[in-house]
Symmetry: C2
Subunit: 336 residues, 2 copies
């Protein structure tokens, strides 16, 4: 324990102001029935003794902490690379801040983290949670459900039960951008599908299939495990080998698209001359590609905001709102 000098308590304030602790508490919480004199005496006393309310004590009695957790459950590397997470965080923070809630971002990196986190969540120091990128069978998801903690998920794994979630319309957006790619006159269009174990990955593939309709050639779908540059590159190489006549590609993320463009360049194909390529995310990769990437814009901060608002509503006792599906506009640039 550090040798911090003892902090003033309501008791000190009460003594200093010559009133009871109950009255002090009343002014602290902005409750009515406090005389003007008492109020000003107390305010003066608070300033004088440097009183700062102890939140642990308040949480204990109120059974609430005015804090909401945002759990990021990503494999190490993705967290570092994924620019959407920071935007989600910022969006959630903005909404919570307006409601005077504190956002606490909690990260689950190792199994040990997950266990500690599960205990932490049950400890009453967090009133609700936003869960980013949960996966099926997630221990955190189970803990949240078991605790009955107000929660909102960003993305929608299948087993989150009745919890609220907000997501982007991955399928619709994939359909839209594939459709536009087709309209540029491409005849042999393939897809590098990543992360099929995640709802986002599976839905993007579904949207692609929707858009291709009867023109779909399953040979032109290459699946890779993660949304990454290197998997994109490898996926493209596979695809080129199988279908040298391919003239269009939908990459399931910008990073994947960037990798694919590298493979294309190495194979001597020009973009968008020989092959048109589109991505997904509108992340910083998109503008750094050469030529700049046509892609789907993700309103990541809106996702964070919507998730926070869902939690806030539950905290107010409102029923869990129906899922929010956010639109993602297609951003047309030069890669297709």
């Amino acid at each position: 324990m550090t040798d911090r000098r003892r902090r003033a308590t309501v008791k000190d304030v009460a003594r200093e102001a010559g009133v009871s602790r109950g009255t002090v508490s009343r002014v602290l919480n902005g409750q009515p029935y406090v005389s003007a004199e008492a109020r000003s005496a107390i305010e003066a006393a608070i300033a004088k003794v440097g009183f700062i309310p102890n939140r642990a004590a308040r949480s204990l009695v109120m059974q609430s902490s005015q804090a909401v957790g945002l759990i990021v459950h990503e494999p190490h590397s993705l967290f570092v690379e994924d620019p959407n997470i920071a935007s989600i965080l910022l969006g959630a923070n903005a909404a919570l801040s307006e409601a005077d809630y504190q956002l606490s971002c909690l990260i689950a990196d190792t199994p040990r983290d997950v266990e500690r986190l599960a205990r932490y969540l049950s400890g009453g120091l967090i009133d609700g949670v936003i869960v980013v990128s949960a996966r099926v069978g997630d221990r955190i998801t189970a803990a949240v459900a078991e605790l009955g903690l107000p929660a909102a998920f960003v993305g929608h794994p299948r087993d989150i039960g009745s919890a609220g979630y907000v997501a982007i319309d991955n399928r619709g957006a994939a359909r839209a951008i594939t459709g536009r790619l087709l309209q540029t006159g491409r005849r042999r269009v393939g897809m590098i599908a990543a992360a099929l174990d995640r709802d986002s990955g599976a839905d993007r593939l579904a949207g692609f299939v929707d858009a291709m309709g009867s023109k779909l050639d399953p040979q032109l779908i290459q699946s890779v495990p993660f949304y990454s540059f290197s998997h994109g590159k490898a996926g493209m190489q596979e695809l080129l080998e199988r279908a040298p006549d391919l003239d269009g590609v939908f990459a399931s993320s910008d990073a994947v698209a960037a990798g694919a463009m590298e493979a294309l360049r190495e194979a001597g194909r020009s973009v968008p001359g020989d092959v048109g390529i589109v991505g997904f995310d509108d992340s910083s990769w998109a503008l750094r590609c050469d030529p700049p990437l046509s892609t789907v814009h993700q309103p990541a901060d809106q996702l964070g905001r919507a998730a926070a608002e869902s939690v806030l509503a539950q905290l107010r006792g409102e029923p869990i709102s129906s899922p929010v599906l956010l639109e993602c506009p297609v951003v047309w640039r030069e890669s297709a």
Copy 2:
């Protein structure tokens, strides 16, 4: 308040196990002097009633919460773009996790956030803090100091008082990479210096000046406000206008370097043929540049880890350790 069913307390466990609350508390905290029978009865009871300790209550009596905050006080956009922050976070989390502390990442985006945060920190729900990218005159810094919270800063603004800090050796690294650039035979070497109001920015400039020695031409130093692509581009354009004969550039971050390379390309200069360029950070920008950027690698996760260890040591009652300065190796690639 949500209609969560009442949670079991130590009292319920005690009743179920036929012992007193004191004994329950002892097994909860792994203390000695508990009979084997009592222990197993209690463990069974805990499982049976589904007891989960209330951390607010525990924090209240222990005056500690086993949680450490990591405060990110960055302007909005930088947080999204800066890959180092995520690495710092992960490094800090790893160290804290080993000591069974919960990391809570708190973000300060608006003045309102800052105020709420200052209150939150004083509330006793956080035992110590790691502060990332504090700036001079920072309200958060003042609050931390005033509270006497165990703290460690990442970076070293001038006014953090006696608090511990960990930082990279910006000056030494800047000197080293400028030196290597000079060794490639460049004669007219300039610098795009960013964020001179931050210690990192100022120190990188100082290192450049060190390395240039008498060859320094102040005309070849262009200062820009932020570490960003667009400022890098603008800075390079300025520089080219003032010194068309320039053949080497030290950009104070990879993002700045990427912007500078774009300006160079537009001006028809080849890299590294006409001008050699080096950056700083070894962020994802570096590999995406064409050609890949020679730069300085920042051990961001180590920074996080060291900061966490400093806080942990203070929590154990050890005196504040002397500042930690981490070495940054130069990564030599193809841009110079």
